[in-house]
């Protein structure tokens, strides 16, 4: 009951905001081009839903975002762990990561397009590049922060390097690896959308830019709402996955939010 009540309390400001949006749009203070009414925008989303264009654009964008993100996750976690284990790898990759991390990766999009063309491959590549360094840095920090006594104990009991990795380093680094993935996910989505806009390969980002080009503001606002929906679902999904994976860990039960 309290859960329902707190939900109602948190819903109220959102409803007031929507009412204000509708009121301002209908009052004529702003032209419908600058601010189409909420009802008009919802009508457009409903149309997109019925025609199937919404589902296909969402599927396309989500697939691109998740495939790029998965590539970044596999490569980033691997690099982070390898850097934690091997001094030579750390020497080689440390300066690359410290230069790569603060670089806005999206600036490489024109170069990637030059190499791969105006297609899905470019979108996925820039989506993978954008969150890569955040994931690698967090995995490195997690894997190098493992309690040394655990490692010594396991070694003295005769663990081989593979077992050490599987049984001790990976589980101990998991919370921070997941933190890295959680922070990195929005970066991947931002890159997917921008690259869809720039390469004209459709998806939610491509539709949004088309709406802006054709001065279709209901379409534009509908697109922003649709993108917000996809963003919320993906971010909640990763947070949920984190809690499930960390149910053994004190932090998992506390219900960390990003």
């Amino acid at each position: 009951m309290t859960g329902l009540r707190s939900f109602a309390v948190s819903l109220a400001p959102v409803l007031v905001l929507i009412a204000m949006w509708e009121g301002v749009a209908r009052s004529g203070l702003l032209t419908p081009f600058l601010l189409p009414a909420f009802s008009v925008v919802i009508g457009r989303i409903w149309e997109d839903l019925l025609s199937g264009s919404l589902a296909s654009a969402m599927a396309l964008t989500t697939a691109r975002a998740l495939s790029g993100f998965s590539i970044a996750a596999v490569l980033g976690v691997s690099l982070g762990i390898v850097m934690a284990v091997s001094g030579a790898m750390r020497w080689f990759f440390d300066p690359i990561v410290s230069v790569g991390f603060p670089t806005p990766k999206i600036a490489f999009l024109p170069i990637i397009v030059l190499w791969l063309g105006l297609n899905d491959a470019s979108v996925v590549a820039i989506t993978a590049l954008s969150p890569f360094f955040i994931i690698a840095i967090n995995s490195h920090a997690g894997a190098s922060g493992v309690d040394k006594q655990l490692l010594w104990a396991a070694r003295s009991l005769g663990s081989k390097p593979g077992e050490l990795m599987r049984e001790i380093i990976l589980p101990a680094a998991t919370p921070q690896i997941l933190t890295g993935l959680q922070i990195a996910l929005p970066t991947a989505m931002i890159a997917t959308l921008v690259s869809e806009m720039l390469t004209g390969v459709g998806g939610l980002g491509g539709q949004l830019l088309d709406a802006q080009r054709y001065a279709d503001s209901p379409g534009l606002f509908a697109g922003v709402v649709e993108i917000a929906f996809v963003g919320t679902v993906l971010i909640r999904g990763v947070a949920f996955g984190r809690r499930r994976l960390l149910c053994w860990h004190s932090e998992g039960r506390a219900g960390a939010t990003a």
């Binding site: 948190s10 959102v14 603060p102 806005p104 600036a107 931002i190 921008v194």
Partner: protein, 247 residues
């Protein structure tokens, strides 16, 4: 000096590999110009006042949007953490917009403000505002009550308690938010300039790319990397200075 050389040697190795791969003809020099050609093109750019004008335009946009987000974000976050009513009314709206990938706002800010400075500044402000206010909110809310009580018992009034105790104690959290915001500033700045603009470093990357002047395009991309690197270094200096009281 020797330490510096040892630290950055891997970058030199990469640069050498780049030059060799490009000169060897394994890939076309069109797609991967030799590093020396790019550096020469960068040298040409450095003699071109237009290059500096575009960098200054980008940097000013970024600074304006980020500063506005800093001031208003810290103010909102602190208010939300201090007054329950503010949190109850604004909190749900912040939560609603937080997961929106901010690049979706690029076309929106363009129909509102056109292709010039104001659309970019507003976009950066919108993108950075929520991370900063959320971080401030978490930080101020997490400040130890005993600190506030001590200040109160020493006679600090409400405003002083907020400004000199709560916000100061929340600085580590606020800085974490600012770091996110700084990265977002660069991403949104470059993205919006690449998409639709008439000046800025992202604009230069686009026109050199469209004009097939690839060495210059690479040089401008390196410029963005350098700016990002410098901004990160400045941020580290600043946070080291602000957090010098921590051991």
């Amino acid at each position: 000096m020797a330490r510096f050389a040892a630290t950055y040697a891997p970058l030199a190795i990469l640069a050498l590999l780049w030059e060799l791969v490009s000169r060897s003809g394994v890939v076309s020099q069109y797609a991967l110009p030799p590093l020396s050609t790019i550096l020469a093109a960068w040298g040409d750019l450095l003699a071109d006042p237009d290059y500096y004008r575009n960098i200054v335009a980008s940097v000013l946009r970024g600074l304006a949007g980020l500063s506005a987000a800093l001031v208003l974000g810290i103010a909102l976050g602190t208010s939300m953490a201090t007054w329950r009513s503010v949190n109850l009314t604004i909190g749900p709206i912040v939560q609603l917009f937080y997961p929106l990938p901010k690049s979706a706002l690029i076309p929106l800010t363009i129909i509102w403000f056109g292709i010039g400075d104001s659309s970019k500044v507003f976009l950066i402000f919108l993108g950075c505002f929520l991370p900063i206010s959320t971080a401030t909110f978490n930080g101020v809310r997490g400040v130890e009550r005993t600190l506030i009580w001590s200040a109160a018992s020493l006679g600090a009034n409400g405003w002083a308690r907020l400004r000199d105790v709560a916000v100061m104690a929340a600085i580590p959290d606020i800085l974490a938010g600012v770091r996110t915001a700084l990265a977002l500033t660069f991403v949104l700045l470059v993205s919006s300039e690449l998409l639709i603009s008439n000046e800025g470093i992202g604009f230069l990357i686009r026109i050199y790319g469209d004009g097939s002047q690839y060495p210059k395009m690479f040089a401008c991309t390196f410029t963005v990397m350098l700016l990002g690197f410098l901004a990160d270094r400045c941020f580290r200096r600043l946070s080291g200075h602000l957090l010098r009281w921590r051991t």
